[in-house]
């Protein structure tokens, strides 16, 4: 009897999980489907789900109109470098906060997080003027720095949480065996926190990839990433939903594939320490 109840509950839970999953994924699925419709089919009412004439015309138009490779390359460089530099800065910071905390550590962590509470547009002009002075407008270097800085609080917070789960005694033992600080961080701490670091890296990469305020406002031609590519197909006066969907699909495809292949690491990292 107890076994039957468990099975029923399992079935309900599985169905609910699938329903929530599909609900979350539906906007992406709809975007992908729309990208294969004509503009007329894209706005049809009632909406057409699958019974339409599939076409690649929108992808052809988008490829002809835009230099997709340039946008993609910029996205990879900006998201990739900002993530790597962010980790280089954040790992030692999170280590010191987790293993050598001071009385103000919690305050510092909260202060770091509070910088995320300021609406970005509030500092647009100061940052823009700084970029003009430093010659960084429309440069990948400038965007890498901005992306790294705006995501740094999240990286430090995540790593701090993961590091706190690692017993300090292990590091102490390493120190007693003569490990230097560098060796302790590189050969003991980092391998033990690999799932956490990997998920932090992936999440940060996704955040940097999707960021659309600074990337639109600080770029023009040379450093414009895929967010600018999508924005070029949005229009309040003209029905270009199918082309916009094709551009969006092309922009999210790399990150979707990356997320798909690394979902194990992501889930393991995000649930690290959740169950003891």
């Amino acid at each position: 009897m107890a076994r039957a109840v468990t099975s029923r509950r399992k079935l309900i839970n599985t169905t609910a999980a699938w329903a929530v999953g599909l609900l979350i994924f539906f906007p992406i699925l709809w975007t992908i489907l729309t990208s294969f419709k004509t503009e007329g089919q894209a706005i049809a009412s009632p909406p057409i789900f699958l019974g339409f004439d599939w076409t690649l015309e929108n992808y052809k138009t988008v490829m002809e109109r835009s230099n997709y490779a340039r946008f993609l390359w910029n996205s990879i460089i900006i998201a990739g470098l900002s993530t790597i530099i962010g980790l280089i800065v954040a790992v030692p910071a999170a280590w010191s906060m987790a293993f050598v905390p001071s009385r103000r550590t919690k305050d510092i962590l909260l202060w770091m997080l509070s910088t995320k509470m300021l609406p970005a547009v509030g500092v647009l002009y100061p940052i823009y003027l700084l970029f003009i002075k430093m010659g960084l407008l429309d440069s990948r270097a400038g965007l890498v720095v901005v992306m790294m800085l705006i995501n740094l609080p999240i990286i430090v917070w995540m790593l701090y949480t993961y590091f706190r789960e690692i017993p300090g005694e292990i590091l102490e033992a390493a120190r007693m065996d003569g490990a230097t600080l560098k060796e302790e961080v590189l050969y003991i701490l980092t391998p033990m926190a690999i799932p956490g670091i990997a998920s932090t890296m992936l999440l940060n990469f996704i955040l940097a990839w999707n960021e659309a305020f600074w990337t639109l406002n600080l770029t023009a031609v040379n450093a414009a990433p895929l967010t600018a590519f999508i924005a070029s197909y949005s229009s309040p006066e003209g029905l270009f939903f199918a082309k916009l969907s094709a551009a969006s699909t092309m922009a999210i495809a790399p990150i979707l594939i990356l997320g798909w292949f690394s979902q194990k690491q992501l889930v393991r990292g995000l649930t690290f320490g959740a169950v003891k």
């Binding site: 503009e39 706005i43 009412s45 002009y125 070029s232 309040p236 029905l239």
Partner: protein, 435 residues
Amino acid sequence: MSFKHTLRAATAMSLITATSAFAQDTTITIATVNNGDMIRMQGYTDQFTADTGIGVEWVTLEENVLRQRVTTDITTNGGQFDIMTIGMYETPIWGANGWLVALDDLSADYDVDDILPAMAGGLSHDGTLYAAPFYGESSMIMYRTDLMEAAGMEMPDAPTWEFIADAAAAMTDRDAEINGICLRGKAGWGEGGAFITAMSNSFGARWFDEGWNAQFDTEQWANTLNFFKTMMDASGPAGYATNGFNENLSLFNQGKCGMWIDATVAASFVTGDDSTVADSVGFALAPDTGLGKRSNWLWAWALGIPAGTAQEAEAKQFIEWATSKDYIELVAENEGWANVPPGARTSLYENPNYQEVPFAQMTLDSILSADPNDSTVDPSPYVGVQFAAIPEFAGIATEVSQEFSAAYAGQQTVEEALAKAQAITDEAMEAAGYK
């Protein structure tokens, strides 16, 4: 060949190569909006480059993103763009601030006097042109001739709002999903805000009196909003409070609107391949109430040069090409007269080929009946038909239109929306030092 000759030949070749490379290396950057005409222009850019040796880089953005982007750049002298696509709202303000290069030395071939006076006037400050119109638009009625006939009514060339409300009620068939009228109710100064402001002109309302006092507490504004809401509640589509240009275009093209009052450029969409009702569309002037002002707006997308650009000469060369009579001929030759950028030049409407386009005359009549310098029944201190050309307007009108949309959606009464609009506007104008 001696060493000296070889050296000379090599030097000459280097110079030629360097010169041609220099000519081809000149590249201008243009910020523009994503609409059919602008995208079409990008397709012809190679011809401009082949003729002049000037390369062109396009930065295409959604209209509201573009506004924010170019405004940030020009106010900080960022220098990211050599040409900016701007409208009638920005041009006079930016021209007055000295942020744009005056277009007062265009060549004789360009024939600047051919630009429609209403467009040239709206893109000038103190009589100096600061941006060249690429295309211009007003607004007009697009209606279903078959539904109008079935309703036993005939659309006059210049109808009143009373007639429109009656016709909308007669054409509405909820069972067949046909709405008598589709209008913009979406929040945003360029969306529902633009429509209701243009409509209010025909009801004798205005944003400000001559002392820059807000006028939302007047009977004229109450009449405008009450008429709009009553008519749309009775004959408009469900959820009209969130409908903008695209939503209404989609409804009209699917045969779900009896009438649609919106931008004249939409005429080519509703009679195009994507429309299911292309063969039964008629056009008429935007309605009035007999007070002497109609409810149509006036707008142009124009190309302006930010002051301080290092490539002013090349930018001017591009603007002369892109807004010329020859460019219109080029598009007509390749894509037909119905697809040329409309509303900018007088000569286009004198062209017999263009006169055959079904909506050409009504577009011209609509443009000519809107005067940005005299848009209201009672005198007002501002320039602009569906906006007031002051820097504060965009922010104020966005907030006001949000209150109006909330009233359309039934979240508050018309009286409450108008009272809030009055308070928002008065406060902002006082803070800005107008009073």
